[in-house]
Amino acid sequence: MSEEEKLERIMTEVFLLDEAGFRWDLRQNEVATWDSMGTVSLAAAIRSELGVELSLMELAGLHSFADVKERLRLKGINCGN
C-alpha cells in the first residue's frame, strides 16, 4: 500500500467517511466529523501508522485533507501531489 493510500485509509477511518465520498480537496468545514477531537485523533493515527509527529502548531494549521498531505510531504512522507 502506498503512503498516499495509507493516508486515505487513515482519513476515512478517523472521520468515518464513505470511501466513495472521499476527495483530497475536502475541507474541514465540509467534514461533519472533523472537530477538535477529530484533529487529535488524526494526529494520533498519523503518529502510529506513519511514524510522524505533528506539533500543536502544525495541527492548528490543518484545514483540509490537502493541508494534511502537504504537511506530511514536508516531513518526508511521499503522499503524492
Binding site: 487513515i10 477511518e13 478517523v14 472521520f15 468515518l16 467517511l17 464513505d18 470511501e19 461533519a32 466529523t33 472537530d35 477531537m37 477529530g38 487529535v40 485523533s41 488524526l42 494526529a43 494520533a44 493515527a45 502510529s48
Partner: protein
C-alpha cells in the same frame, strides 16, 4: 442453615418443597453458578441474627457482576405472590412452565412459590437448551403460564417459527429489556395469552412494577408500581425503591447489610416518571457517563446502532489509554467490512465523537448469564473478539 445446589430446575423443585415446609433458612444456588460453595457457606455463617429461620437466600450477579447474596423473608414473598396472582389475573392458570433456573429470583417467586402457594402444577424444562422437550411441553400446555426473559425470544421464534401454542394463557417477561419488537410474533405463537412486562430486581425479590403489553408501545415503559412499592429517582436519575416485599439483607463482597423499611434501595437502573404515574427506564447506571465532558448515554446510542445492524449489538465499559471513560461496541455475528463501514457512517452521522465507541469488535455469539442477561464480564475478558475498527487516541 442449608445450602442447596441444583443442577436442573427439576432437581431444585424436589428439594425446595421439603425445605420450604421445614422453616429453616436455606440458600438455593445453581450448581453452575461459578461461585464456590465454600464461599457461600462462609457468608451464610455470618448471616445477621434473627434470619436463621423463616427466610431464604438467593445468589445474584449484582450490578457490578460480582456475586451477591440476597435474603428474602418467606411471608413477604408469599404476600407478593398473592398480589401478583391478582394483578396478573392468574386464577384461571392451572400450571406454569419453567424455562429459567429456579435459582433465579424471578422463576423462584413468580413460578415455584406461586405454584406452591396456589397448588398449581410446576412443569420444569431445560428451556431452549432442549427445544424438542420445550416444544412438547408447550404443545401439551393446558391453561399455562410461561415466564421468559427477552433474550430468549429470538431463539424461541426461530426454533418454533410456525408453531402455535393455544394452551399458554399467560406470558411474562422480566429480567431484561421487554421484547417490544417481537410482540407480533409472540402473539401469533401464543394467541390466547395475555402478555405482561414485569420489572424488578433481585433485591426487590423481585417485582416492583407491572404492565400488560398493550398498555405501552415502548420497551422502556415498565408500568406502575405494585401496591406496597414506592419508586423514586435521585438527583442523577438513578431509580430507587422501597418495598414491603423486598430483601431484608444483602451481602455484597464480604459484608452483610440489613435493609430496613425506610431504606431506599438502588435498582441499578435510571428511570423517568411519566405523567400518569408510570415509570420508564432510561438505561443502567453504568450506561450513562461523561467522556471529555460530554454525556454519553448508551441507552440512547445502542438502539440507534441496533436499527442499522442485522445481528446483536452489545457493549462493555472500559477506559481509554488516558483513563477517560468509554465503551467497546460488540457485534454478533461477525460483520462484513462493508457492514462495519456502513455502521460507522451511521454512528458518525448521528453522534459526536465522544459518543463513538472506542472500538468495534465482534464475537460469534453474545455470551449470556444463566438468567439470560448479557455477561459483560465475559465480553470484556474474552480473547475471542475480532477487532474491526479502533479510534485513534493519543
Amino acid at each position: 442453615m442449608r445450602l442447596i445446589t441444583a443442577e436442573t430446575s427439576g432437581r431444585a423443585n424436589a428439594t425446595l418443597k421439603s425445605v420450604w415446609e421445614d422453616g429453616e433458612t436455606f440458600a438455593v444456588v445453581s450448581a453452575r453458578s461459578g461461585v464456590a460453595n465454600s464461599w457461600i457457606t462462609m457468608q451464610l455463617d455470618g448471616l445477621p441474627g434473627g434470619l436463621e429461620t423463616g427466610h431464604f437466600v438467593l445468589l445474584t450477579s449484582g450490578t457490578t457482576g460480582h456475586p451477591k447474596l440476597v435474603v428474602g423473608q418467606r411471608e413477604r414473598a408469599k404476600h407478593l405472590v398473592s398480589v401478583l396472582h391478582e394483578l396478573q389475573e392468574c386464577e384461571p392458570v392451572r400450571e406454569t412452565i419453567v424455562t429459567l433456573p429456579l435459582t433465579y429470583c424471578y422463576a423462584f417467586v413468580n413460578q415455584w412459590l406461586w405454584a406452591h402457594v396456589y397448588g398449581r402444577r410446576l412443569l420444569c424444562t431445560n428451556g431452549l437448551a432442549r427445544p424438542g422437550e420445550l416444544r412438547a411441553t408447550l404443545e401439551g400446555a393446558d391453561r399455562s403460564m410461561l415466564c421468559l426473559v427477552g433474550a430468549q425470544v429470538p431463539l424461541l421464534l426461530e426454533y418454533f417459527q410456525k408453531s402455535v401454542f393455544p394452551g399458554v394463557i399467560r406470558v411474562h417477561f422480566a429480567g431484561g429489556r421487554f421484547p417490544q419488537e417481537h410482540l407480533t410474533g409472540l402473539r401469533r405463537m401464543f394467541p390466547e395469552a395475555a402478555v405482561f412486562n414485569n420489572y424488578g430486581c433481585a433485591e426487590a425479590m423481585p417485582r416492583l412494577s407491572l404492565r400488560r403489553a398493550e398498555q405501552a408501545v415502548t420497551a422502556q415503559h415498565i408500568g406502575w408500581p405494585l401496591p406496597g412499592v414506592e419508586l423514586r429517582t435521585d438527583e442523577e436519575g438513578r431509580l430507587l425503591f422501597r418495598s414491603r416485599y423486598g430483601a431484608v439483607a444483602v451481602l455484597e463482597k464480604t459484608s452483610w447489610a440489613l435493609v430496613t423499611p425506610s431504606d431506599w434501595v438502588p435498582t441499578g437502573d435510571l428511570g423517568v416518571l411519566g405523567d400518569d404515574g408510570h415509570w420508564e427506564l432510561a438505561g443502567r447506571y453504568g450506561e450513562v457517563f461523561k467522556r471529555h465532558g460530554e454525556k454519553v448515554s448508551l441507552a440512547r446510542i445502542l438502539p440507534a446502532i441496533r436499527d442499522h445492524w442485522r445481528g446483536e449489538a452489545e457493549y462493555f465499559r472500559t477506559n481509554d489509554g488516558s483513563g477517560e471513560p468509554g465503551y467497546i461496541l460488540v457485534l454478533a455475528p461477525e460483520p462484513t467490512a462493508t457492514e462495519v463501514r456502513q455502521l460507522l457512517k451511521e454512528i458518525g452521522a448521528r453522534f459526536v465523537r465522544s459518543q463513538w465507541p472506542l472500538a468495534v469488535v465482534s464475537v460469534g455469539v453474545i455470551p449470556l448469564l444463566v438468567n439470560g442477561k448479557v455477561d459483560r464480564q465475559q465480553l470484556a475478558s474474552g480473547s475471542f473478539r475480532k477487532t474491526h475498527w479502533t479510534q485513534h487516541l493519543l
